[in-house]
Amino acid sequence: MFESLTVIKDALPYLLKGSFATGGIVLGAMLIGLTLGVLMACGMVYGRRWVRWVVGFYIWFFQGVPVLVLLFLFYFGLFNYLGFNFTAFTSVTIVLGMTTAAYQANIFRGAILSLPIGQFKAANALGMSNVQAIIHIVLPQVLRISIPAWSNEFSIILKDSALAFVIGAPEIMARTQFVASRTYQHLPLYITAGLIYFVLTWSGVKGLRALENKVRIPGYSHQGK
């Protein structure tokens, strides 16, 4: 028992350093997902037929293939083939970003469809172009509506980032496995890793909840007292 605690105490700084890598992967992936997701959602709703077809294909592909397969496909396959010399860290960030983009696109699409069409017409009637109406009227509301679903996506990506260890990105899981294979203290170390993930997820979700409350539109409360 005492030995376990010593191992944890010694390994903790090393493991916690991994949370920077994990944080970087999640932040990068979520930003890629946000950007691509918003663009694809707009494409699905407002785009021409060929745009909708391309986006539909993208979503179908990334929803249909396991993340681990995608990771290997891109890291060992496509990136190599194209001559990109991406590190494991960059590759994981890109692959998770592109995967979450497929799910986020549907989150944002649903939010766009939930807005009454009248506001878009009103923006047009004031002389705004379609792009201006999307940027100034639609998206500010869509992003607010999407925060709860987006925070689900955040916690999923945070935990999926543990897959990065299989290609050797130095994040929490990879570091834990490294220490465990040397000390044979599997149980306490993986409990520690689990707790670190738990704390990261919890604080991230909590933060997004705070953001949701901060940007809530007055008068639109669904909340009880």
Binding site: P116, G118, Q119, K121, A122, A123, N124, A125, L126, G127, M128, S129, Q132, H136, I137, P140, Q141, R144, I217, P218, G219, Y220
Partner: protein
């Protein structure tokens, strides 16, 4: 430009949704300072016509003249510039829910007219004052009553200095006791000489404001004339029959 030359003119506007022919060739001329009122049964094409006038609904065919020149609706820039000059008021207000009353007015001034924030704010305050809401600028749409929302919507449209105002049943979604405040604002616009075309079921507006009444039925203008011609004592017109029906519901005297 002579006073009689139309500011807005459309010819042979048609529109179908699938197999439903909503507009079957409508001609319309709106002289500067004129007020035309569209009445008629639901599904007659009033809303669609109004939305075709500024191409929120793209007509299948037809030509639009504004200020004497044809509007090429295929050219986005020309279309957007045209819409800036044609204000629109909707039945269900369509305020931007994420913006305060003041910001609802400011946003188009900043993004479309490219005014700076301070100028836009001053202009917006003037317009809010005109509709009697200078103390409500900081409130969000969800915090306003229906009548207040519609007055903000009118202020928002007027801030763009429109040459023509299209009003699509501006009082139909309001509680009866809130109709008056919106009607008062519309009346004062009429007194200031605003050119308007309005679909409405509000008898007092039809009777007192219209230079000309257009009765729409089955996608065509079935009758048109002054209120005296169509609603005068003893005449027997579609409009008369329609207004009688409205009276039975509201109990108002013509």
């Amino acid at each position: 430009m002579s006073r009689s030359e139309p500011i807005l003119k459309v010819e042979n506007i048609t529109k179908s949704f699938g197999t439903a022919h909503i507009l079957k060739g409508v001609d319309l001329e709106l002289p500067k300072g004129g007020i035309k009122i569209l009445i008629g049964p639901s599904g007659g094409g009033k809303s669609t016509l109004l939305q075709c006038l500024n191409c929120l609904v793209t007509p299948d065919s037809g030509t639009i003249w504004f200020n004497g020149s044809v509007v090429d609706i295929q050219k986005s820039k020309e279309l957007y510039a045209f819409r800036q000059q044609v204000g629109m008021i909707f039945q269900d207000f369509n305020l931007f829910d994420h913006l305060t009353a003041l910001d609802n007015i400011i946003i188009a001034l900043c993004k479309v007219k490219k005014k700076n924030k301070q100028q836009a704010k001053e202009r917006a305050m003037v317009e809010l004052e005109q509709v009697g809401l200078s103390d409500k600028g900081h409130l969000y749409p969800a915090e306003l009553s229906g009548g207040q929302k519609q007055r903000v919507a009118i202020a928002r449209a007027l801030a763009m200095d429109p040459k023509v105002l299209l009003l699509d049943e501006p009082t139909s979604a309001l509680d009866p006791e809130l109709v008056g405040e919106v009607v008062a604002v519309i009346r004062s616009l009429a007194q200031k000489g605003m050119t308007m075309i309005m679909a409405t079921h509000q008898i007092s507006l039809i009777r007192n404001l219209a230079d000309e009444i257009l009765f729409m039925k089955d996608g065509l203008i079935a009758e048109q004339g002054t209120p005296r011609e169509l609603l005068g004592a003893g005449v027997c017109t579609l409009s008369q029959g329609f207004c009688d029906k409205l009276n039975e519901i509201t109990g108002e005297e013509i």
